[in-house]
Amino acid sequence: MAASAGGRKLGWTVGFPWRRIILTLVAIGIGVFVLIGSYRTLTLPDAERIIAETWFQLMVRGLALGAVYALIALGYTLVYGILRTINFAHGEVFMAGAFGSYFFAAAFAESGFLDRHIVVSVIVLLLSSMAVSVGVAVLLERVAYRPVRRAPRVVPLITAIGASLFLQGTFSGFFGPDFKGYPKPEILGGQWELFGVTVKRTDIVVFLTMVVAVAALQYFVRRTTTGKSMRAVAYDREIASLMGIDVDRVVLTTFAIGGLLAGIAAVLYSMTFGQIGPFMGFLPGIAAFTAAVLGGIGSIGGAALGGLLLGILQSVGPYLLLSGFHVPSPFQLKDVVTFSVLVLVLLFRPAGLLGSEEVDRL
């Protein structure tokens, strides 16, 4: 056989902990890089130094971004917990929500309703966004996941990628491929003083919304009957169905809840960044997935924690590590940070921060 020849030649290498050695070297290299980079950035001459307030603002920005990631990440985590597959099209569920609320937002802004009845407006925006996101998520489950649930693993993966492209193409065909300005209510436009630092109001609202949503989800999954049946299905699908739980319905519910949270995230994201487009789901989707992996995929608290951490890493990381080396425009490399975090987590702690060691993934 193939390996017997190779096996003789490589005899002494068998059992030698190559992997561990390489991983350790990589870890040391990264550690050294982070230390040197931060040291050089923090000891820059006064003219170039980034002042403390800027760092703080970057952190707050990162937390707000991270809160959005966390909300999207919950969708990945829930679906993964139940089906053991990555929902590649979840970024598009998020995008669909943004479009769902956009037309209301635009109409409200035009008529002045948005600022006169801010509470009603925001509720309508959230509801419309959630409705569209849930609709797309449910449709996705029915069309792209349910028929291939028992097929080899690569099959649902590819249908999901196809669905993701299809949704992008559909929304760009329906509503035009260009970016659209998303109105922001006046009341959220300003800034607040917090511990002596000015913070954008949207950032705080985004963060608080995320906290409420995560708490509500925790309650739902731990206390309600539907939540308990979700846990049962995640624990063992077959046994759960023997216990009289309708697995198909639970899976559908899971997708719907993921869509609900993505819908909330979409409104928050659109208000923060002020523009939406059919391709807006891709990068936040990947980042949110990274967040879910970072926090430990399958764990709700992990998704929240991972989202916030990743947000901070993305906004602070490039400046902290690269400014010292005089790299021009470090913010361009924020997606490199995302993907590096993803690869490193999978290399060193595949179960994530809050997850326990998982055999299945390896």
Partner: protein, 603 residues
């Protein structure tokens, strides 16, 4: 007649119709005429859903005897289905009329006056709606009738229709071939923008009906003479020899194919040659990705990284210049290697990068591997466009003034010459893939793909073979990148040139053709790259079509259009491991208990 079924089928057909209108396909294709002035591509899009709905909803029962007596009621059911789908569209049109087209258009950008004109056939909205409903009913009935016909009649009709539509779609290719061969073409195409002549289309239809029927009779006779075994098509890669001495049939086929391949660009003219060149690049990329995904079973979504590596390193090795705001500048590192040597070097570099990328992801399972490789692809793109590496790769503006590969004064940038360069590389890649397929390496990949743990246990070094797959796939992909650089003469990673869409497009090419199938890659590239390239209207709908292709193939025919037999068996196998709850899956259960929403509560 099953009323519920009919309504459901009609509703689905109608939804498809409305979708096609809203997404803009109907409006965009309304100026692409297929036959004369009366059938446009948009018309075809509107005709198909009711026909298909009618056909699907009246799938004939198994008893063959009953069928004939049921013909009338079948047609009735089909007509009802078609009627329902037409009604959905008509209601949509009515809504647009009531709300006002300008208001609707502010949300759905594709609802244009052109679309409404196409849908109403120049009549008023209500008249158009009436025509659509009646027409859809007739089409649904026709679809149902077609479905209930015996196979011998149905097949020639379908083949003839497909032939006519194909010739209509290829209206930029076929006429120039006719002209080069100085064949009279007025009977078929008068001018090359107006599709087929009606009589010509009829002649083509009758011809293909005749040919199909003739072939069937011939096949029937030879099958009777030679016994059933010979009627089976030969498996891919299986050599025809050993059947009856010298394989004359095979030799003739190869010679004809070779002549056709060499003569094609001369026959088809520069415009089509350019498209063929693009198809060739994607064949190359597809063959490379086929090694990684099709042979080794590693889903790589960052394949574009290798293309970028190939293109950029080729540019740097052969001496190119940075494009800056002040014109062209010398980059930090620029050599002047001969382009052909550079192509070989680039493949080597890409193979090394394949090893580097492959090493950290060796232990990741399917979906994680996909997303991590996706990440690598994006990292490559971000780095190439970043200001940081601008002195090397030119940043967002990119590299220009790339040396053309040439033999003597025969430069390859000219589309008709470029074709031969790509063809040569494709043949090389086909040869490599073909030899790999059943080699020791190929069998190791098969074993690994089917069950990694078992492969490992039987002595296949999965680490080595995974790395080998990444390296070989990467090397072939980088060839595609290098010729891409030759073709364009300048590179820029901004926009989508090296974006994730390229990776997904290549994946779609491989999947459409069939995972692990060499011929499949070629078919996939022709359909997904060649056809859109010739139809300029198509550009905006690439995403939609690739997405739909991936989904439909995976749901309906995961083995692809030109399947590889072994892969077919694997892909159609139902995986019960996820549902079994006996011993072997105890580990899986433990996993489930530890990570999941349950995790925090149940511990």
């Amino acid at each position: 007649m099953n009323l519920r079924r009919t309504i459901r089928g009609g509703a689905m057909g109608g939804t498809v119709l409305v979708y096609l209108c809203l997404v803009g396909l109907v409006g965009t294709f309304s100026d692409l005429s297929l036959i004369g002035t009366w059938l446009t591509a948009a018309g075809l899009l509107l005709v198909l859903p009711p026909v298909v709905a009618g056909a699907v909803m009246t799938r004939p029962r198994v008893q063959a005897g009953e069928r004939r007596t049921m013909a009338l009621s079948t047609a009735g059911t089909g007509a009802a289905t078609g009627f329902a789908s037409g009604a959905v569209l008509a209601v949509g049109m009515g809504l647009v009329q009531v709300i006002g087209i300008d208001t609707v258009r502010r949300v759905f950008v594709s609802v244009s006056p052109i679309l409404m004109e196409t849908l109403t056939f120049g009549l008023s909205t209500w008249g158009g709606a009436l025509v659509i409903v009646i027409g859809a009913a007739a089409l649904g009935g026709a679809g149902a009738l077609l479905r209930s016909m015996p196979r011998q009649i149905r097949r020639p009709i379908v083949v003839g229709t497909v032939a006519v539509v194909a010739l209509g779609l290829l209206q930029r290719v076929v006429p120039s071939i006719f002209d080069t061969l100085s064949i009279e073409r007025d009977w078929l195409y008068r001018d090359i923008t107006n599709g087929l002549q009606t009589t010509g289309a009829l002649i083509v239809f009758l011809l293909s009906v005749g040919v199909t029927e003739g072939l069937r009779r011939l096949q029937g006779r030879s099958a009777k003479e030679a016994g059933p075994a010979d009627a089976l098509p030969p498996e891919e890669g299986a050599a025809p020899e050993g059947r009856r001495g010298v394989p004359w049939g095979g030799v003739v086929r190869v010679v004809v194919l070779a002549v056709a391949l060499v003569a094609l660009p001369q026959l088809a003219g520069p415009v089509v040659s350019e498209s063929l060149g693009t198809v060739g690049i994607y064949v190359l990329l597809g063959l490379g990705l086929n090694i990684v995904v099709g042979y080794a079973g590693l889903l790589d979504l960052g394949y574009v990284a290798f293309v970028a590596v190939g293109a950029y390193f080729f540019a740097l090795l052969t001496g190119s210049h940075l494009i800056t705001a002040f014109g062209l500048e010398d980059p930090l590192a620029s050599l002047h290697v001969d382009p052909f040597v550079a192509i070989a070097l680039v493949a080597g570099i890409a193979a090394l990068i394949g090893l580097v990328i492959g090493a950290p992801v060796l232990r990741l399972r399917g979906d994680y591997l996909a997303i991590v490789t996706l990440g690598f692809g994006e990292i490559a793109r971000v780095l190439l466009t970043s200001d940081w590496l601008q002195p090397v790769f030119g940043g967002a503006r990119g590299l220009g003034d790339i040396t053309d590969a040439s033999i003597g004064s025969y430069g390859f940038r000219h589309p008709q010459h470029f074709y031969y360069l790509v063809l040569a590389l494709c043949l090389f890649a086909v040869f490599v893939s073909w030899r790999l397929q059943d080699s020791r390496i190929g069998r190791a990949w098969t074993a690994m793909r089917e069950d990694e743990q078992v492969a490992d246990a039987t002595g296949v070094s999965t680490v080595r073979y995974k790395l080998l797959a990444f390296a070989m796939g990467g090397a072939i992909g980088s060839l595609g990148g290098a010729v891409y650089a030759i073709k364009l003469g300048s590179l820029s990673a901004s926009g989508g040139t090296f974006g994730v869409l390229v990776s997904v497009t290549v994946l779609a090419v491989v999947i459409l053709g069939g995972l692990g199938s060499i011929r499949g890659v070629i078919v996939g590239a022709l359909v997904l790259i060649g056809l859109p390239d010739l139809l300029s209207q198509f550009e905006e709908y690439r995403l939609l079509v690739y997405g739909a292709a991936l989904m439909v193939m995976m749901l309906q025919r995961p083995q692809g259009l030109v399947p590889n037999s072994r892969r077919t068996r694997e892909l159609l196998e139902v995986d019960r491991s996820q549902d079994r709850w006996t011993g072997a899956l105890a580990a899986d259960k433990r996993v489930a208990s530890e990570v999941s929403p349950v995790g925090e509560g149940s511990g």
